[in-house]
Amino acid sequence: MTTKDFAIKWLVYALALLPVWFLQSFVLSRFPLFGVKPMLLPLAAVAVATLEGAAGGAGFGLAVGLLFDAAVPGFPGVWILVLTGIGLGTGLLARYVLRQDLVGCFLCSVMALAIIDLLRILVRLLTGAAPLEAMLSLAGRESIWSLCFVPPVYLIFRWVFNRVPKATVL
C-alpha cells in the first residue's frame, strides 16, 4: 500500500467517524434516550480496532481519544491513553482470542464501556463525590443504551473496511 493509499484509507475512516461524532455530540446530547446519553465514540474505536487489528486500532483509538477528551469534561488527557489502550487491546483480542466480526466487536465494546465507567466510578469513589449505588445504576443504563448502537456503528466501519486497502503500513 502506498503512502497515498494509506492517507486516503484513514481519511475515509475519519469521515466515517463524523456521523458518529455528530450523533453523540449534537443529537443524543440534546435528546437523550430515556434520560441517558449513549457513548458512541468508544464504539467507533472498538469497531475499527476489531477490523484493522492492534496497530490500526491503537492509531484510530488515539485520534478518537483526542476527540473524546475534547468532548467530555473531566480527566484531562486520560481518555487519549485509555482509548488508545482500548484500540490496541481490542485489536489483539479480536485477532487472537475472539473473531473479527460483529460478535467480537460487541464483546470488546462491553469491555471498553466497562473500563471507561469503572475508571469514572473509581475516581468518584476516591473523591467521595457520589454514592456507589447511583453510579452503578447510571453506568449500567449508559452501557445498555450504548450497546444498542454497536451494530450500526460496526456496520458503518465495516462498509468502509470493505472499500479501502487492507494492509496497514505504519
Binding site: S25, A70, A71, G74, P76, G85, P131
Partner: protein, 284 residues
Amino acid sequence: MKDFFKDNGIIILVIALLLTLITAVVSFTFGGIANPFANLAGVVATPFRNGIHSVVTWAEGLYSDAFRREEVEAELERYKQRVAELEEQARSGEAASRENERLRDLLGFQQKHTELQTEPATVTAHGSSNWSSTLTVSKGSRAGVEPGDCVIDQYGNLVGIIWEVGLNWSTLITVVDVDLEMGAMIARTDEAAIIEGDFSLMGQGKLKLTYLPQGEQLLAGDEILTSGLVSGGTATYPSGILVGHVEQVRTDAGGMNDYAVLSPATDLASLEQVFIIKEFEVVE
C-alpha cells in the same frame, strides 16, 4: 522486536502516553484554560456547532409549531396570568420602593445596587456525558471570558459557572453539576446556606441546598439566591441571583442532617441565549 512493536501499536501507545502527560500537565498548570488539543478541536468545531445548533433549533421550532401548539397556547395563557399578578405586585412594591429611597436619602445611605458587565453568548452544544452537566457557549477568551465567571439566562437566573475557556468557545458547568458548590441565601429569611450539585439529583435536573440554618423552616417554593461567596475579601460571585426554588426537604442517609431539593429557576433543556458576567460591582 522492532516489527513486534510496530505491528502491535506499542509505539502509538507510547505516543498516547506522552500526549496524555502533556495534556494533563497543561490542564493542571493553566486551570480552566483549555489544553491545546481541546482548544484546537473547539475552534475547528465552533462553526459546525453554530450551524448545527441553528438547524436543530429550527427543527425544534417546526416540531413545536406542528405538535405542541395547544400546549404552547396554554403556557402562554398561564404566563399572561402570571404577568398580571406580577404587575399588581410591582405596583404595590413601587410605593414601598419610593419610601425606602426617601428614608435612605434621609439617612445618607447610598442606594444598594449591583452593576454587572455581561457578555451575551449562544448555547451551541449540550454536554454529551451523563456524568456531568455542561453546556458549550459561543464566547471564549477572545471576548474576555475567564474560568469561574458566572452565567445567567435572559431572566437573570443562574445557569452555571464557566469551567473551561477556549479561544472562541467556553464550557460551563450548570447549576445541577456535581462539581458546583457556592454560597446561597434563602430569600424569605436572609439565612445563609450552601447550594451544591448532587449525583443522584443531577439526572433529574435538580440540585440541593445544604448546611441549612438550625431551626430553619423551609417552605416549598422558597426562592434561593446566590449570597456572593467571599474569598480573601473579594466576592467571587455576584449576590442576589436567583438559583431556584425549594421543592422538598429531606434527611440525608445518616439521618443527621436535613437538606432541601431545589429545582433550578432556569430551564436548562431549552436554553439558547445566556449572559456571562465578566465583571461585577456590588454597592452596599
